[in-house]
């Protein structure tokens, strides 16, 4: 297997030239292995150890739609300061079986390192391994046997420890102190699993020591620059599924419906695994049930949501229209994955933008947010429940596989200043008197058409004295079916006008972000998870190429922030649109909303996220050659 790209990462290592005399400031570690053999947990261990030691982390996960056996890998990028994306060159490849060594050899920088199992791999056979790569054979089996003896187990029983062994050797090589591994192990194995800690520590210790004795150990150029430990618990190491779940808990979402689908299901399972918050999590029979059950729930006043991905989102189209016409606050999370159809179920893509905006027949208002990382995912998810109730309409959080599954180390989410907004909602009327049940029988014009606002006052089912009806048909103010144009015209208009209100009221900062200098040679336009790679590329281009680049990140594609965004686009000197899809959907949307045709595109539809490395090259390519469309393809 060879890389898809023609360029080998070794050629463009300059941009991530990270090693200095003081130590390495931008380090990429990679581990791989068959699915189901603990690759994920080894990456978590390495990331935790590095974070514990005070570093910042970006972890990228790649796996097949398969339970056991297919090749998966995990890249962990480590820096002394915050890190937002991955890079292509690998400084240290840890391979406890042959496939990983074989597949990924080409990615290791010429002076990088390979940790391998000499029983599985003869490095001489690795044709794509640069000659200068340092090779560190670790006798995994021998270590397992030694540990087995200590703990009275067979090597086979302990084979899962290969992960820890690979991590410990890696840590030693790149200069993460052993105590960080110990601490990380202590945090990963808690409760019933705590008894596994000593075993792991023993294996790690042996491996940590062993590698130090190997020839070449001190020649390794990518020892991490030393850092201070960070204030304990000041940061989180988290992925987007998890930060969304936290936001839901915080926002008071107590009804989550779902139908399992990658990459949304982990969010739901996380909520299920935290019964202490008493969120009712319902595994439904399908996504039709999931969306409509959430909507039904929302009509009683609970904050309700559902999470899915493309195929499931397809099945929610009709339900969203019902929520739209009935002005029901419901929050739907669509984590995009490779499409169309079943597509690349575990891979990255941003292919659902235009579908999400236009989902459902007929015109109805929806609000669509596209967070760019785990922190924005937390913020947008929290706010979504406020927006849904304030504008009484469905809110869609359109996120993706990369945000869902990739791990970032970020400052702990700020919970200060968060506030609940339930919108215009009323309880029982004043003249309701519990002692006089007849007073509970009043009818309420739930869909009142008002003079100055498109927001009708809302009451929820179960409230005395606020009886009204819902229907998928056009309706009167109390909710009965009507086909009368005199009612239809203003009622339909009222609903649609909420989009204009949302545009006006939602803070600019939530509608788009503008990053970088006001004036720049290049203006990047993008949305969602490409944010990290773009931001980091901007830094490199400035420092290494003296190129000023700024970046317009669309955070709310619908209703589109035309008024804010148009001037930025018009002013731009060289506009480049960046998207993880084939058809440049955001560029289409921008032309739809502003008339501006973005002339340059960086696109990737290989099912893999964009790296900082790719982003830098692509921007340079466009700047230097005025290339119209750069198609990225790096990554196995």
């Amino acid at each position: 297997m060879s890389p898809v790209t023609t360029k080998n990462s070794q050629e463009n290592k300059s941009q991530s030239e990270a090693s200095s005399s003081k130590g390495c400031k931008d380090f990429c570690w990679m581990i791989g292995g068959p699915q189901g053999t603990g690759v994920d947990s080894s990456a978590t261990l390495f990331a935790r150890a590095a974070a514990t030691a005070g570093y910042w982390i970006y972890g990228r996960r790649e796996y097949h739609s398969n339970i056991k056996g297919k090749h998966s890998y995990f890249q962990v990028r480590v820096k002394p300061d915050p890190v937002l994306s991955h890079i292509d060159p690998v400084h240290l490849l840890a391979a406890f079986e042959h496939t990983t060594a074989d597949y990924h050899a080409f990615e290791v920088v010429p002076d990088g390192a390979l940790i391998y199992d000499p029983q599985a791999t003869d490095p001489a056979t690795l044709q794509n391994l640069a000659p200068g790569v340092l090779k560190f054979p670790i006798e995994f089996d021998a270590i397992l046997e030694a540990v087995g003896k200590e703990f009275d187990k067979t090597a086979t029983q302990l084979s899962i420890l290969k992960n820890a062994i690979a991590v410990a050797a890696s840590c030693a090589l790149c200069g993460i102190e052993f105590s960080a591994i110990e601490e990380a192990l202590g945090m990963l194995f808690t409760g019933k699993k705590a008894k596994l800690v000593p075993l792991n520590v023993a294996a790690c210790k042996k491996s940590y020591d062993a590698i130090q004795k190997l020839p070449g150990f001190s020649d390794y150029r990518y020892k991490l620059v030393p850092v201070e430990k960070q204030k304990a618990n000041s940061r989180v190491l988290i992925n987007g599924n998890q930060s969304t779940a936290l936001a839901k808990l915080k926002a008071g979402c107590r009804m989550q419906t779902y139908y399992s689908i990658t990459p949304a299901v982990d969010e739901c399972i996380f909520l299920e695994e935290h019964p202490e918050y008493s969120t009712v999590v319902v595994q439904c029979e399908d996504e039709l049930a999931a969306v409509n059950m959430a909507i039904g729930a929302a009509t009683t006043g609970i904050r309700a949501s559902t999470s899915t991905s493309g195929p499931g989102f397809c099945l929610m189209a009709e339900g969203l229209g019902f929520a739209g016409i009935n002005e029901i606050p419901v929050v739907v999370f669509n984590y995009m994955r490779g499409g169309p159809s079943t597509g690349l179920p575990t891979r990255q893509e941003q292919g659902d933008l235009l579908f999400s905006i236009h989902t459902g027949h007929g015109d109805f208002p929806k609000i669509l947010m596209t967070p760019g990382d785990v922190t924005e995912e937390f913020e947008d998810s929290f706010n979504a429940f406020n927006d849904a109730e304030r504008y009484q309409t469905p809110v869609i959080i359109l996120s993706d596989r990369s945000i869902a599954n990739n791990t970032m180390c970020v400052p702990r989410f700020s919970e200060d200043g968060l506030k609940i907004d339930r919108g215009d909602i009323v309880g029982a009327p004043e003249n309701y008197n519990e002692a006089d049940p007849q007073s509970g029988l009043q009818i309420f014009p739930r869909f009142r058409i008002k003079e100055n606002t498109p927001i009708s006052t809302r009451a929820v089912a179960g409230t005395p004295g606020r009886i009204h009806w819902l229907t998928g048909d056009e309706s009167t103010e109390i909710g009965h079916i009507t086909e009368d144009p005199k009612i239809r015209i203003p009622m339909h208009e009222k609903r649609m006008k909420k989009l204009e209100l949302a545009s006006r009221e939602i803070p600019q900062a939530r509608q788009y972000s503008f990053h970088g200098p006001k004036d720049a040679t290049v203006t990047m336009v993008s949305w969602g998870s490409t944010k990290g790679a773009i931001l980091e590329a901007m830094g490199i281009l400035k420092t290494e190429h003296q190129l000023d680049v700024n970046f317009l990140q669309i955070r709310m594609p619908h209703p589109f922030p035309t008024a804010y965004v148009q001037p930025i686009l018009e002013k731009a000197k060289l506009l480049i649109n960046v998207e993880n899809n084939y058809s440049a959907q955001m560029a289409q949307l921008i032309q739809m909303r502003t008339g501006i045709a973005i002339p340059h595109h960086i696109l990737k539809w290989s099912g893999r996220p964009m790296s900082q490395t790719e982003m830098v090259s692509a921007i340079l390519d466009i700047v230097n050659h005025k290339t119209e469309k750069v198609v990225l393809s790096y990554g196995l």
Partner: protein, 324 residues
């Protein structure tokens, strides 16, 4: 659902909207029975949430003076389940057509049985898709050709009661749209039943279904040498479908077998009544066991902000594992 003394008259449960069904349609009677049931059970109208699907039958929610949701075609049980789970204090009644419930809604019908929520589901079984002008519904027998069909029905009809039994419904009944008393009592029993209750209503559609008309059901039939009414009450047939002890596996098996045999039997008479009933824990009971907050309150009332709208949820135990 624990019922109490009536407070509201049936006429108060009737809304101001005039039903727009065809003259002679069975839906009028079902609507009356629903209104009367709510009244007679002493329910507060604002604590009743009535969901319907889409079809002629789907309009019924507009005719009751209770919280009403005329939902989407086939999805009524999903909507209803969401409401019931978030506010279990509500009396949730779902209703809709046979096309709605057994056709496009068949998937939800199956899984509502698995969930056994404390809800009632009233199906207007007229063997046709009324509102789209009389195509065959899933209950129409194979080969049958009501006047609205161009060709005899090429698909077998399903037996909704047998399906309900197979899917775990804990209350399974059939009634008839022109037998007001039986219908009302059956619906009341269904509402009072603490679990998922199906009431399949034989509903003449004079406009499209000329096979099973009011006249048809009023006819007498000859059976075993006797002249009998078409419609037979299960009690009169000596049938008792109620499981007395849900833990008595023998009784359960016997009552299930009896029910299946009965609903499958090709009788000349059409039996109506309660074919099966058993008391089993509901889905919400399982939730309550698992979610500590539900000991004292309902999901919709779980607190999550203070008087100043500041969120009160402490992320402590959830965020722990991520902290570094």
């Amino acid at each position: 659902m624990v019922s109490s003394a009536p407070v509201f008259k049936s006429s108060q449960i009737k809304s101001d909207v005039h039903p727009d069904w065809c003259a002679g349609c069975g839906d009028f009677g079902i609507t009356n029975a629903l209104q009367a049931s709510v009244a007679e059970l002493g329910l507060n109208p604002w604590e009743v949430y009535f969901f319907t699907g889409v079809g002629c039958s789907g309009k019924t929610s507009h005719y009751l003076n209770v919280y009403g949701a005329h939902t989407l075609h086939g999805r009524v049980l999903a909507f209803a389940a969401g409401a019931k789970l978030s506010n279990p204090k509500l009396t949730v009644i779902a209703a809709g057509g046979d096309g709605d419930g057994y056709g496009i809604g068949a998937g939800h019908f199956v899984h509502a049985g698995r969930r056994n929520l404390d809800m009632t589901y009233v199906v207007f079984n007229n063997e046709v898709y009324g509102l789209t002008k009389g195509q065959a519904s899933p209950t129409l027998a194979k080969g049958a050709q009501p006047k609205s069909l161009a060709v005899p029905n090429p698909q077998h009809g399903i037996n909704p009661l047998a399906m309900a039994l197979a899917c775990g419904y804990t209350f399974i009944a059939r009634t008839y749209a022109f037998d007001q008393k039986h219908m009302k009592e059956t619906i009341k029993k269904a509402i009072e039943h603490p679990g998922m209750a199906l009431v399949d209503v034989l509903q003449p559609c004079p406009t499209y279904n000329d096979l099973h008309t009011k006249d048809y059901f009023s006819e007498t039939v000859e059976a075993e040498g006797k002249t009998l009414p078409r419609i037979a009450y299960l009690e009169d047939l000596g049938y008792d479908g109620v499981v007395q002890d849900a833990n008595n596996q023998g009784e359960v098996t016997q009552k299930r077998a009896q029910c299946f045999e009965r609903v499958n039997r090709m009788d000349v008479q059409t039996p109506i009544g309660v074919f099966y009933q058993i008391h089993l824990p509901t889905y919400y009971d399982a939730m309550r066991e698992n979610l500590p907050g539900l000991k004292d309150t309902t999901p919709v009332n779980l607190p999550y902000h203070d008087a100043n709208l500041i969120p009160t949820t402490d992320l402590g135990s959830a965020i722990e594992e991520f902290l570094v």
